[in-house]
């Protein structure tokens, strides 16, 4: 059985009128992440199949489908940072927060994630907390930073 819909599934005539990536970026800016209810609404409004929206939302690493933590620590794992031992920094944060990369602490305060390059290669190893970049990190500096966040 084909499901009945109130609107036909078709793209708008002029594809330039809507840009799915831009629409999703706007939604994410509003709530900090993409809510499934919002995506369903977008699908109905624009007549784009939900699978397509889900496909785009999961393809790009910028889009989050879960509610973000208050602080996200992004440890840069770009080449320059790797050479300057960013892996040690990640391990240190994992140990001190008792979480693995990609996870959030139980109180939803801090999330640990990696990012491929934030372009602060000359300041390697670099980490980014929300939008602020910290360069030339050492274990001691990270320790201090985590204490501050808490």
């Amino acid at each position: 059985m084909v499901e009945k819909r109130d609107k036909p599934i078709c793209y708008l005539k002029d594809p330039k009128l809507h840009n799915l990536i831009a629409a999703l970026q706007k939604l994410q800016e509003k709530h900090g992440y993409l809510r499934v209810s919002d995506l369903k609404k977008l699908s109905h409004e624009k007549g784009i199949p939900g699978t397509d929206i889900y496909g785009v939302a999961t393809f790009y690493s910028q889009f989050q489908m879960k509610k973000p933590a208050k602080y996200t620590i992004y440890v840069c794992t770009g080449t320059a940072c790797h050479v300057n031992r960013s892996a040690d920094i990640i391990q240190f944060i994992e140990e001190s927060l008792q979480i693995k990369t990609g996870e959030t602490t139980k109180n939803r305060l801090i999330k640990l994630d990696t990012v491929n390059c934030i372009g602060a290669c000359a300041k390697a190893p670099a980490i980014m907390v929300n939008d602020h970049v910290y360069g030339q990190m050492t274990k001691a500096k990270v320790k201090e930073l985590i204490l501050k966040l808490r």
Binding site: P15, K16, H18, N19, L20, I21, A22, A23, L24, Q25, D52, G55, V56, F59, Y60, S61, Q62, F63, T77, G78, T79, A80, H82, V83, N84, D88, Q91, F92, E95, V115, N116, C117, I118, G119, A120, C121, A122, K123, A124, A126, D131, V133, Y134, G135, K139
Partner: protein, 587 residues
């Protein structure tokens, strides 16, 4: 009206400029700027882009009575000293880097053509841009007309700066005489870790990119363009957006550019974090708002690109060079660089090196010059092992090949690529197998999953490398064969180039691979499973190691030599870091 004459005067007279690119801001240029602004110095304080000396950020340049002094590492706590010096009219010796860019060793072997304005003018001041010869190239292009521009660019021998080195004039030629709607795209999706030259140009000299695109529009008779860049570059996006508005306002974009028949407008498209989108077919899908999956070529973008229309995709760097070609003329442009590849290349230097940053060098400069003359050589206590070029799609240049010239063909002969121009230097403290594993991990994660050789192949290659880093048995032959298979059978550039780091490191450092497999040894002490920490008799028995050990596997009596109980050791290296007398060694 744009007051160019006044802008020129402004630039030549007394001024203080603070570099506020992304790297400057991360080093703390924001508070420095505020402090200088508040200090009532009677000299205008301006925000400029990045001059490329990232290792010296934040940078403040003071011009007073015709004398220039460039100050580096002016952090928030040091800005007070600088303000005192400026007020009393002295030169602040402790912060001084040089009195002009040419006199600083970092710039001696450089040739700044595209980067000339970066760090000198206010990125969003169109009058300052014009006072430095900006938009002169566009005027010249209008005089020359479509065929004239095409001829000039062809005569200059300009090749794409994105990595492949395809002749720009030929790329434009494919779409130049096709009738109907077509698009120009500036590729600023710099997903390549270790490369940030596009970001710097977008942040520090946005009008140059817009001017280059407008020239391209004349050459290809096109009226719409896109700049595609990463959402991770918020400052670059903001700067470009404002620059586009200004250019429209002053008639350099929009309908009837400078009162002529040419129409051209640009809009920005933000990527959302996917390395594969640097590949042109994937990028085109992403511009349309779809998943960034590459598609097989042909059809090439020149026949079927954005929204199915003929499209020319050029790198941000290429658009900058287009301006230089028109401004100086093809003949003058050819004087720099090699015969086959004239011009310069903007490179990013990073890794284990004394002076990391952005440099613009004539093509054909040796890697040795780049690492030692510009980069200032290796930090104390380390020796050069290799230079990684081209990022995750590139390869390595070992010590024996340091005299290689930076050029598309020369790099290819080494099994590497020039790529976007990122050069990461590694020292004896880095393990070559670990580097290959790192790059493989990157491409494996970024593989879009569309074609099997890339999706499955990169995963298996990564597994093999992981086994080697654990000292397990892997046939080098099998590794090489699979790498070659992935290279030959993948759909797009990402998969085709993914095995490059393995093949190129195998070529020069096979011994190190074999050492891992047969002798279970990692000379550099990076691969955790192959090293053991050991306390020597230098130990003074302070107990720092035992106190800091996260698994409490170090014990001993105070003031005597401590011991590590290997069976519980997780090899985190904490003890190694905290030991005050360096009594702990890696074996």
């Amino acid at each position: 009206m744009i007051d160019v004459i006044n802008a020129k005067k402004e630039l030549d007279s007394d001024r203080i400029s603070v570099g506020v690119g992304t790297c400057g801001l991360s080093a703390g240029a924001g508070p420095v700027y505020d402090a200088l602004k508040k200090a009532n110095l009677k000299i205008p304080v301006e925000k400029v882009g990045c001059s490329g000396m990232c290792y010296n950020e934040p940078i403040v340049t003071v011009v007073k009575s015709g004398k220039q002094s460039i100050y580096g590492l002016v952090t928030e706590d040091k800005v007070g000293t600088l303000i005192d010096c400026i007020k009393s009219g002295r030169v602040c010796k402790e912060l001084l880097v040089g009195t002009s860019l040419d006199k600083i060793p970092y710039y001696k072997k450089q040739k700044r053509i595209v980067m000339k304005n970066c760090g000198f003018i206010d990125p969003l001041n169109i009058a300052q841009y014009m006072s430095q010869g900006g938009y002169g190239a566009l005027k010249k292009a209008i005089e020359l007309g479509q065929d004239g521009v095409l001829k000039e660019v062809e005569a200059s021998g300009l090749r794409g700066r994105g990595g492949a080195g395809f002749p720009t004039a030929r790329k434009w030629g494919f779409i130049a005489h096709v009738k109907g709607k077509k698009y120009l795209v500036a590729n600023g999706d710099e997903g390549d870790p270790g490369a940030f030259m596009n970001r710097t140009l977008m942040e520090s000299d946005p009008f140059k990119i817009l001017e280059g695109m407008a020239i391209g529009a004349i050459a290809t008779d096109c009226d719409e363009g896109f700049i595609y860049t990463r959402a991770e570059y918020p400052l670059a996006i903001k700067t470009l957006e404002q620059a586009i508005c200004l250019a429209r306002k002053h008639g350099f974009l929009g309908n009837n550019i400078l009162g002529t028949k040419y129409n051209f407008d640009v809009s920005i498209r933000k990527g959302a974090g996917a390395f594969v989108c640097g590949e042109e077919t994937a990028l085109i899908h992403s511009i349309e708002g779809k998943r960034g999956n590459p598609s097989p070529r042909p059809p090439y973008p020149a026949t079927k690109g954005v929204y199915g229309k003929p499209t020319s995709v050029n790198n941000i760097g290429t658009w900058g060079h287009v301006v230089a070609v028109l401004k100086y003329g093809a003949k003058q442009f050819r004087k720099v660089g090699t015969k086959k590849t004239p011009g310069t290349k903007v490179i990013c230097l990073a890794g284990k090196i004394n002076r990391a940053g952005i440099a613009e060098v004539p093509i054909g400069t040796t890697i040795k010059d780049i690492v030692y003359s510009i980069g200032g050589g290796m930090p104390k206590g380390t020796t050069f092992k290799a230079a990684l070029t081209g990022g995750p799609a590139g390869g390595c240049v070992p010590k024996t090949k340091l005299n290689t010239r930076l050029d598309y063909e020369e790099m290819q002969k080494l099994g590497s690529i020039m790529g976007s121009g990122g050069i990461v230097v590694i020292s004896n403290e880095s393990c070559i197998v670990d580097i290959a594993r790192y790059f493989m991990n990157f491409t494996q994660e970024e593989s879009c999953g569309k074609c099997t050789p890339c999706r499955e192949g990169t995963k298996r290659l990564l597994e093999m490398l992981e086994r080697i880093t654990r000292g397990e048995k892997v046939e080098i032959l099998a590794l090489r064969q699979l790498a070659e298979f992935v290279r030959d059978n993948s759909l797009c550039g990402l998969g085709q180039n993914a095995p490059n780091p393995i093949l190129s490191t195998l070529r020069y450092f096979e011994k190190e691979y074999i050492e891992h497999i047969n002798k279970h040894k990692c000379k550099s002490g990076v691969c955790k499973d192959l090293i053991t920490y050991f306390i020597t008799d230098k130990c003074i028995g302070c107990g720092m190691c035992a106190k800091n050990c996260p698994v409490a596997t170090i014990s001993g009596i105070p003031k005597e030599r401590y011991f590590i109980h290997q069976e519980k050791c997780i090899k985190c290296g904490t003890c190694y870091g905290v030991c005050p007398v360096k009594a702990i060694i890696k074996k």
